[in-house]
Amino acid sequence: MAHITIAASNKAFQVLFKTVRDNFAFSKSDSGSFGPFSASYSVALHLEGGTLTLNDDNTLEVTDMDIVFDTLKVQVCFDLPGFCIPSFCIVPDPWNGCLVGFPGFCIGGPICAPLDLSGLVSEVNDVKAGLSPHYVVDPARDPSCTDLDAELNGKSNMWKIFIDPTLVNVDPIDIPATVGNLLENIVKNAVNNLFPSWLPGWAKDIIWAFLGPILDLIKGILGIVGEINEWLSNLLGNIFGLVSLIETAIADYFASKYPIYSFEDPFPILDPTPTLIPVKIPIRDLTATVNSKEMVVLANVGA
């Protein structure tokens, strides 16, 4: 039988978990070139909500935890092929080809569409985990220090109990369909800005007619087959690998960055007095488990 038994009720564990969850933060930025276009993004996010369930098989599960994108900025740049007077045939040849053609010409330019999707909420669909106690020696601790000196220097050895995920599943980033309108307006404005001030209205109308529906134009340039929001979600989630990066960051954070509970070793059981040093007991063989009612930590006392 273990010398020490500590238990935290389900309710207490929920409170501990909230602290862990609320301290998670992730930020990342990246850019890349993908043939007809280039893109970059900048993201910063935190976690909210979620339903924590403790199971009798020594596992815990968090479902429906929100990913709140405090910053989600994407920029897509591409070359507008512009307004082309296409070559046309002046003298056709007998084989339906063209013998003499009018040399065509094009006007256009590079366009960047910055999309600010900050505030978007996505979801961690599922986290399955167990508990994993780690014994941590502060690497900055002088090996010659006694435990008392280490405590005085704030470098005590620690037992840290981490949530150790076996599965983290983040949903694809749910970009709203309205991003298509947003992109359309940005590109329209960019094209309008491309027009020199001297360009008459009739010439602008001709150019718009040549360009056609702007969403179709954008889709054509970027090679988008379906909807723009789905394409953008795929770009961020799969091509830039942002979903995997978030999953890895969450798993890494729970498993090694922020323990759900920690205490120092040796553990103080009597505080110091003006004449006496504190009484501390060394803790060994620590285990942490959960069942549907509580978290149970068992340990032995010994050097």
């Binding site: 008459p200 109308d205 001709i206 007619a209």
Partner: protein, 251 residues
């Protein structure tokens, strides 16, 4: 942001086959083999000289002669281009049954071309783009919607009308239809009334000496851009705190 608009595309509204600009080209076929000397004129001034060899053994059916690149200042006196290079750029080869296409790729243009046999009397011209003849083709593109008059300035009878329709934004991107073909003969233009869309080619084939002039008679500014002066006019400068005068309504 980079733009590649050439203002001349939208400001040069009329066309003249004897004064080539970006929206037009002249096509000439030599028929007879030989070495030809061409001169690019801007008014009376010869801007550049080039040579076209009409060679029976040449597989080239079309040679595009960009009059701008022949006269571009960048090729002259910069010290970076050796004479051989410049000369090389002024030499063209085409099959005698092929076509030479004279066009202007940028800028204001206004050129015409003289051609003669290289080894004959300099005064004996065999082609003058101000006087297009049977076998030559003048291709024109009109961008500005409106009603135009079309005349052959070398004939008193040839006069026609051209209407260029205003473009409308559709569900698919607009592409100009196939070129319209016009025959210029003794009786004038056939057809006499032409309809075209912006950017659509208009090809003039000739049965008699011609110089085609296309001039805007009435512009069509479409529904959103009424053809009234866009100037705001004079307005009294208001002092701080004063309400500025509103322009009077045209209705």
């Amino acid at each position: 942001m980079r733009t590649t608009f050439d203002q001349n595309l939208f400001t040069q509204i009329g066309l003249d086959s004897g004064s080539l600009t970006m929206l037009a080209s002249v096509v000439h076929t030599f028929l007879e083999a030989g070495e030809y000397r061409g001169a690019v004129h801007l008014g009376e001034k010869v801007e550049s000289v080039f040579y076209i060899k009409a060679d029976k053994n040449s597989p080239v059916a079309q040679v595009n002669v960009d009059l701008v690149s022949l006269t571009a200042p960048a090729l002259q006196g910069t010290g970076c281009c050796c004479p051989e290079t410049k000369e090389g750029q002024n030499q063209f080869v085409v099959n005698p049954k092929g076509y030479a296409v004279f066009h202007v790729s940028a800028g204001a243009g206004g050129y015409y071309v003289h051609l003669r046999k290289a080894d004959e009397d300099p005064k004996q011209k065999i082609f003058d783009s101000r006087k297009l003849e049977e076998g030559d083709i003048y291709s024109a593109v009109i961008l500005r919607p409106g009603r135009y008059s079309v005349t052959n300035t070398l004939s008193k009878t040839a006069a026609g009308e051209l209407t260029v329709h205003y473009p409308s934004a559709g569900k698919i991107a607009y592409r100009p239809p196939a070129p319209v073909r016009v025959e210029v003969g003794e009786k004038g233009f056939e057809p006499r009334k032409l309809e075209a869309h912006p950017g659509q080619g208009i090809l003039f084939h000739f049965k008699q000496p011609s110089r085609i002039k296309i001039e805007l008679v009435k512009p069509d500014d479409g529904p959103g851009h009424p053809s009234e002066p866009s100037r705001a006019g004079w307005r009294k400068v208001s002092l701080p705190g004063q309400v500025p005068a509103e322009p009077r309504s045209r209705s």
